[in-house]
């Protein structure tokens, strides 16, 4: 035991941090499978009637076959244990809706959502940080007032409403934006590498497809980003105002550094630490906000998949989605902590 302890503490901080967090993360995932399994059991509704037509549902033989096929005939604890056991083999079961393994479905739908959320996150960071910094520098001036209204609007406007309005205005009325979906109707998807069309088309040098993919992602990504732009702007402004008041920023000015350096290097640095934390939480919120945006823009992502699975009480699919979202949360949080430690040398991992 003592030997183990000393060996453990001999490891680099980063390794200790990763091992510990991965272990906790794995436990968390197990807990999430349990909760999501329990939830699917307690919700009223019967997968049989949700998936089979009236005639099929009234035929006991078909019902029995359906139950046997999806393991619904076994006692509930056994169902769960069976699920966990398969999970360890990378088998998430079969989706009742698509009649395909859940993993196959996820591999198809998840990249679309990751692509959309990442694009939205990039937009949110670029706009949010720039606007926040400008607002802080021009505190109480007109740029600050304008930005305050914009960011307030950003966090107040309901996403689904904004999605409908922007689609109506920019597609139907102005014709600037392309229609819904990830590509033009009949457009051929690039060879599947990551299943993110923008990246795959780039990797394979299909420039035309890349252009279409980008033009299709801009509007939904903007809509998805708006709320986060608002919150990152407000956070950046507050953090910048605080750090601009710090003694070390005054020191930087006293050293005669150009104002640009003072703001972008000295004042920004501590603000970035705060922003990373907000952005991490915002990414999680985007994954849930994506359900509405995906529906309006017919974006075949995991939000739509989860929504349809929930309607059909598709147990395996719901649990698969929950697990994947949980893993994303855990990974994002770990990344946030790592980046935070990179920004602030006073933070010690491990």
């Amino acid at each position: 035991m003592i030997k183990f302890r000393s060996a453990w503490y001999a490891l680099p901080n980063l390794v200790r941090f990763l091992v510990r967090r991965l272990f906790v993360g794995a436990l968390l995932c197990l807990g999430i499978t349990f909760v999501s399994f329990a939830l699917t059991q307690v919700v009223p509704g019967d997968p049989v009637s949700a998936n089979l037509g009236d005639r099929a549902a009234s035929d006991p033989e078909i019902v029995a076959a359906f139950r046997a096929r999806y393991g619904l005939d076994k006692p509930i604890p056994e169902q769960y244990l069976l699920y966990v056991e398969r999970l360890f083999h990378g088998d998430l079961g079969e989706a009742q809706q698509t009649h395909r393994p859940v993993t196959t479905d996820l591999a198809q739908y998840l990249p679309a959502t990751i692509e959309l959320a990442s694009a939205a996150m990039i937009l949110a960071l670029v706009f949010g940080i720039s606007l926040g910094v400008i607002a802080a520098i021009k505190r109480d001036g007109w740029p600050d007032q304008v930005i305050r209204i914009v960011s307030l609007a950003g966090v107040s406007v309901p996403t689904f409403w904004l999605a409908l309005v922007t689609l109506y205005v920019f597609f139907f009325k102005l014709g600037i934006a392309p229609g819904v979906g990830r590509l033009n109707p009949g457009g051929k998807a690039p060879p599947a590498i990551t299943n993110m069309f923008t990246i795959d088309s780039l990797l394979t040098g299909q420039w035309a497809t890349f252009g279409t993919a980008v033009s299709h992602i801009v509007l939904p990504a903007l809509v998805l980003a708006i709320y986060t732009v608002g919150s990152i702007t407000r956070f950046t402004r507050a953090a910048m105002l605080e750090s601009l008041n710090q003694d070390y920023v005054r020191s930087a000015r006293a050293k005669g550094l150009p104002e640009r350096t003072v703001i972008l290097r000295h004042a920004m640095r501590p603000a970035l630490a705060a922003i990373v934390t907000v952005a991490g939480m915002a990414f999680g919120r985007m994954l849930s906000g994506t359900v509405l945006v995906e529906s309006v823009f017919s974006w075949p992502g995991i939000g739509q998949y989860a929504y349809k699975s929930a309607l059909a009480l598709d147990l395996r699919a719901i649990m698969g989605v929950s697990l994947v979202v949980a893993v994303i949360y855990i990974v994002v949080n770990m990344a946030v902590d790592l980046i935070y430690a990179l920004i602030d040398p006073r933070i010690r991992l491990g």
Binding site: Q246, D247, Y248, R250, S251, A252, R253, A254, K255, G256, L257, P258, T261, R265, H266, R269, P270, A273, I343, D344, P345, R346
Partner: protein, 331 residues
């Protein structure tokens, strides 16, 4: 001393006024006509309680007054008027005039390495490569007696003690080779045992680098250890100026005398500590006449009516007091 003043001074502040916006939307004069000169290689002490305008005076030399502050008068640095344009102040800031602040715990950037903070302005002002700037920084860290300066460059402020951090802040301020160092309460935030080391360091750097120093402090003990000449400020005005030994041995202005009486020195039995009655007036609420009269043991009617001029009372010695308390009996 006199030889230093015979040459044109390095820094010459003439009739400096600084006004600040008040909460009620008016303006209040915080500095009211300050004249101050620093010769080359000279250490000038600027003493006074908080609110006396000593820090504002210093910040105006660097053009770093807080937002909304307005200044008048002239500040000549080697014949250039720093108040004439923002460009002039920016040109000397950090390169020819450097500043060290009170609290080394907050004055260094907590997230940037010492090396970064030691070299970024050196590179900017002296147009050096990173490598050359590193060499300058290491030499300066060595000069302020930071052990293992090369290794210290890779570390961060939180890995150093308060005294070490102040040494690093001083080294950083001096790395670009300024002629004037403004030290605003450089030892106030430090342990007494560390203070003496910092003061010795500043004294040594003055000799080695022919540095001029404007030492701002409310602590006359610090002043007596270091300064060649002393200015005492009260409510935005200079009330006494003279050679350090003269002023501290025989204070002429009642305020200076009060400050000295409040200072522990000698054996405690023969000299009871006496606190100045009252507290310094807030900016915007300076009393009319001599601003010190409400707290003055010697005050007469004339003190309540007229602002006293600075009058010479001995060679190199001026006070702003019509009642020279040396000659007067306390009321």
């Amino acid at each position: 001393m006199s030889s230093q003043l015979a040459k044109p001074p390095l820094l010459s502040i003439e009739g400096l006024t600084i006004s600040l916006p008040t909460a009620e939307g008016h303006r209040a004069e915080a500095v009211r006509g300050v004249d101050l000169a620093i010769g080359r290689g000279e250490i000038v002490g600027l003493a006074g309680e908080s609110g006396s305008g000593k820090t504002l005076t210093a910040l105006s030399v660097l053009g770093l007054l807080p937002g909304g502050a307005r200044s008048g008068g002239r500040i000549f640095f080697e014949e250039r008027d720093l108040l004439a344009s923002g460009r002039a102040a920016r040109a000397v800031r950090g390169s020819e005039v450097a500043m060290v602040f009170q609290d080394p715990m907050t004055a260094l950037h907590p997230m940037l390495s010492i090396g970064r903070q030691m070299t970024e302005h050196v590179r900017f002002h002296l147009h050096l490569s990173q490598h050359a700037a590193d060499a300058v920084a290491v030499e300066m860290l060595d000069r302020v007696r930071i052990p293992n300066p090369r290794e210290a460059m890779t570390r961060y402020p939180h890995q150093f003690s308060g005294g070490m951090r102040q040494r690093i802040a001083i080294a950083s301020a001096l790395a670009a080779g300024p002629k004037l160092l403004i030290a605003d309460e450089p030892t106030t935030a430090l342990d007494v045992t560390v203070q003496a080391g910092i003061l010795r360091l500043i004294e040594g750097l003055r000799r080695e680098l022919q540095l001029s120093v404007l030492l701002i402090t409310h602590d006359l003990g610090v002043m007596s250890a270091l300064a060649d000449r002393v200015y005492v400020m009260y409510a935005g005005r200079v009330v006494e100026r003279g050679a350090r030994s003269d002023v501290l041995a025989l204070p002429r202005h009642p305020y200076t005398r009060g400050l000295l009486d409040a200072l522990p020195h000698g054996s405690p039995s023969d000299h009871p500590l006496r606190a100045l009655p009252g507290s310094p007036p807030a900016i915007g609420r300076f009393p009319v006449g001599c601003a010190f009269h409400p707290r003055c043991r010697f005050a007469e009617d004339i003190c309540r009516a007229d602002v006293p001029d600075l009058m010479p009372v001995a060679p190199g010695r001026v006070i702003a007091c019509p009642i020279d308390p040396l000659m007067a009996v306390p009321a």
